[in-house]
């Protein structure tokens, strides 16, 4: 039945809009590029953009040296509070894990990392997911097909196919985007080399990275987090589609779900630990500032007397939300659509 769900989707106007958005995204992303390690731009006192004319290798080495110096500073941080202790420990580990103090060409990874979780990408993939999955069941109601589906022998196959698609399609969509970006970046910046070196070589705030990630493992974590976010949003969009009877209600429900965490950051009266989780783990900030979240360390929170790593706790909450979404959909199939 998944084949039929896909076919219905591709033949609908929403499907065509989704394809158009995806093509637009892949076209635009070709021109999106971060400042490479071998480049340096700054504004002078007349606010004119000035490009550093030194050889790229020299600029890159200087930037790399600065990053190491920053980590060394962190490694010698004074203070015995848990945050300072953890930062010191992390920085010392990072220094130990440095394989070479010479700059290595990481241009491919720098660009790929930038493009893999660019806010525009997140925005468009979320729009596509919301458009498709907020209508995945309401379209059946509007077209009058819901009664035929629910009175058929394979009704649960249809419903589970819709849920399955909500889990798989964002992954396939984002995966396809990554493949295209990989190929485009390959053409523009050469082969991906030196992926086994330290992740802080391609990350601007690398001193806050929690652990000694290699570039490859950092990128895998980032892709994983983004897939988790997109899948969760798609699953909840489907859930709202299953429990509402029109697109407007369904899309509104999904949007409220997406911005709920961010809105909660305005509620200063919330308990500190909960507030911290909302501040770092809300979908809006993860989509628009993924570099501030993926693999980072932002201190500990106390929950039920236990001290937990904030970002790891947020990751666990995000995974739990996905499973809650799946469970809600299954319950809706059994309790509401089969009442």
């Amino acid at each position: 039945m998944i084949f039929w769900e896909l076919k219905k989707m591709l033949k609908s106007k929403t499907g065509l809009i989704a394809i158009a958005l995806f093509v637009f995204l892949c076209g635009v992303i070709v021109f999106v590029k971060p400042v490479l390690e071998t480049e340096n731009f700054y504004r002078n006192d007349k606010y004119e953009l000035v490009a550093d004319r030194r050889p790229g290798e020299e600029i890159a080495q200087e930037k790399f040296n600065n990053k190491i110096a920053e980590i060394e500073t962190m490694a010698n941080l004074e203070g015995n509070d848990p945050f300072s202790l953890k930062i010191r420990e992390m920085s010392q580990e990072k220094l130990k894990s440095i394989k070479s103090k010479a700059y290595k060409d990481v241009s491919f990874f720098k660009v790929f990392n930038h493009r893999a979780a660019h806010p525009l990408v997140s925005f468009i993939i979320v729009i596509i997911s919301v458009l498709i999955f907020s209508n995945i069941y309401t379209d059946e109601i509007i077209s009058g097909m819901d009664n035929i589906i629910l009175s058929s022998k394979n009704k649960f196959k249809v419903l589970y196919s819709k849920l399955g698609l909500a889990i798989i399609l964002p992954i396939v969509l984002y995966g396809s985007y990554l493949i295209i970006v990989f190929l485009v970046t390959l053409g523009q910046h050469g082969t991906p080399v030196n992926g086994g070196f330290e992740a802080f070589r391609i990350v601007d705030n690398g001193s806050l990275l929690n652990g000694t990630f290699t570039i490859n493992s950092y990128l895998m974590l980032k892709v994983g987090v983004m897939m988790l976010v997109f899948t969760t949003i798609a699953v909840f969009a489907s859930f709202f589609s299953f429990i509402t009877t029109n697109s407007l209600a369904s899309i509104s429900g999904t949007l409220i779900f997406i911005v709920f965490g961010k809105v909660c950051t305005l509620m200063k009266f919330l308990p500190e630990s909960l507030f911290s989780v909302f501040s770092k783990g809300n979908y809006v900030d993860i989509m628009f500032y993924p570099n501030q979240f993926v693999g980072m360390y932002f201190g500990q929170v106390n929950i039920l007397g236990k001290s937990l790593d904030l970002i790891k706790l947020c990751n666990s909450v995000l995974i739990a939300i996905l499973f809650v979404g799946i469970a809600l959909c299954v319950l809706t199939f059994k309790m509401i659509l089969n009442k």
């Binding site: 076919k7 609908s12 077209s143 394979n154 009704k155």
Partner: protein, 295 residues
């Protein structure tokens, strides 16, 4: 032989009894379901098609509760809902292929059945055309074809002939009569002539309860002596009769007016006579005029 037994079926929505203690036993043949809007016809059909569960009571198919039968019951079920839409960008053939997949039909068997049904409903020539470009009647025929795909033993049709032209309606009635030999067909419609011409028995619902069930003869005989024809040439008398009785029809002739009236009591007009009742009279007697859409 298929037997569908509805036992003490009650469906409550909030404080309203949409179906109120309905008990009826159905065997192979066409059953007409008649009642005004809000009488509980669609709710009854939704329970028969497992779209909603009864608040009280049960539905038994061949000795087993349909809730326990689950997919085995849905496997022998065909349903054409009142509000039947289609995927506009699918061709008629693709749409039926999709419904075949819903009903768990395999490739070759489904293909043969789809071609046969497209021929039967007269859509074979336009099978590859997008359903969105079909007329209302053509869409309804696609709906009829999808309901028949799995060769159902219980066929539930909610307003199947709405939007069909007289020729299509006749063809559809004939089709139902042909296939009703080994099926239970429940036909809900406001088009009384459809029920009159093909239903073996008619069930009449009012306010969620079963008002009457029987053959046409049973139902019509209960109306004997309650239908009158009154001839008058006085306009003020026409007005008076309309105010006092349920008038089914007013036929204006060259010099006089003939009114068809239903009444439990004898009509005290000089030019009145009792006439043979029709199904339309029965409907009018029990229900309100505004619910008759077409006769």
């Amino acid at each position: 032989m298929n037997i569908l037994e509805i036992k003490n079926l009650t469906k409550i929505y909030g404080k309203k009894n949409a179906n109120d203690n309905i008990s009826v036993s159905l065997e192979n043949g066409v059953y007409g379901l008649l009642g005004p809007n809000g009488a509980g016809k669609t709710t009854l059909m939704k329970q028969i098609t497992t779209l909603t569960k009864p608040t009280k009571g049960k539905i038994i198919y061949n000795g087993k509760n349909i809730n326990d039968l689950g997919n085995n019951y849905r496997d022998v079920l065909g349903y054409l809902p009142q509000e039947f839409g289609v995927y506009k960008n699918f061709s008629a053939k693709q749409f039926l292929q999709y419904v075949a997949a819903l009903k768990g039909l395999s490739g070759q068997k489904a293909k043969e059945k789809i071609d046969k049904l497209l021929n039967l409903v007269g859509l074979y020539e336009v099978r590859n055309k997008a359903v969105g470009k079909f007329s209302g009647g053509m869409k309804r025929r696609v709906g009829i074809a999808q309901a028949l795909l799995n060769d159902p033993k219980i066929l539930v049709l909610d307003e199947p002939t709405a939007g069909l032209d007289p020729q299509e309606r006749t063809r559809f009635r004939n089709l139902l009569s042909q296939i009703s030999k080994d099926k239970i067909i429940i036909l809900s419609t406001h088009i009384i002539s459809d029920i009159e011409s093909i239903a073996k028995e008619t069930m009449m619902l009012k306010n969620g309860a079963m008002l009457m069930k029987g053959t046409h003869q049973d139902i019509l005989s209960s109306m004997k002596g309650k239908v009158y024809s009154i001839k008058t040439d006085q306009e003020n008398e026409v007005m008076e009769i309309q105010n006092r009785y349920k008038v089914i029809n007013i036929q204006r002739g060259v010099h006089d007016v003939t009114l068809r009236v239903v009444s439990e009591k004898m009509i005290p007009y000089p030019n009145s006579e009792a006439v043979e009742p029709s199904f339309e009279d029965v409907y009018m007697f029990y229900f309100d005029l505004e619910n008759i859409q077409e006769v």
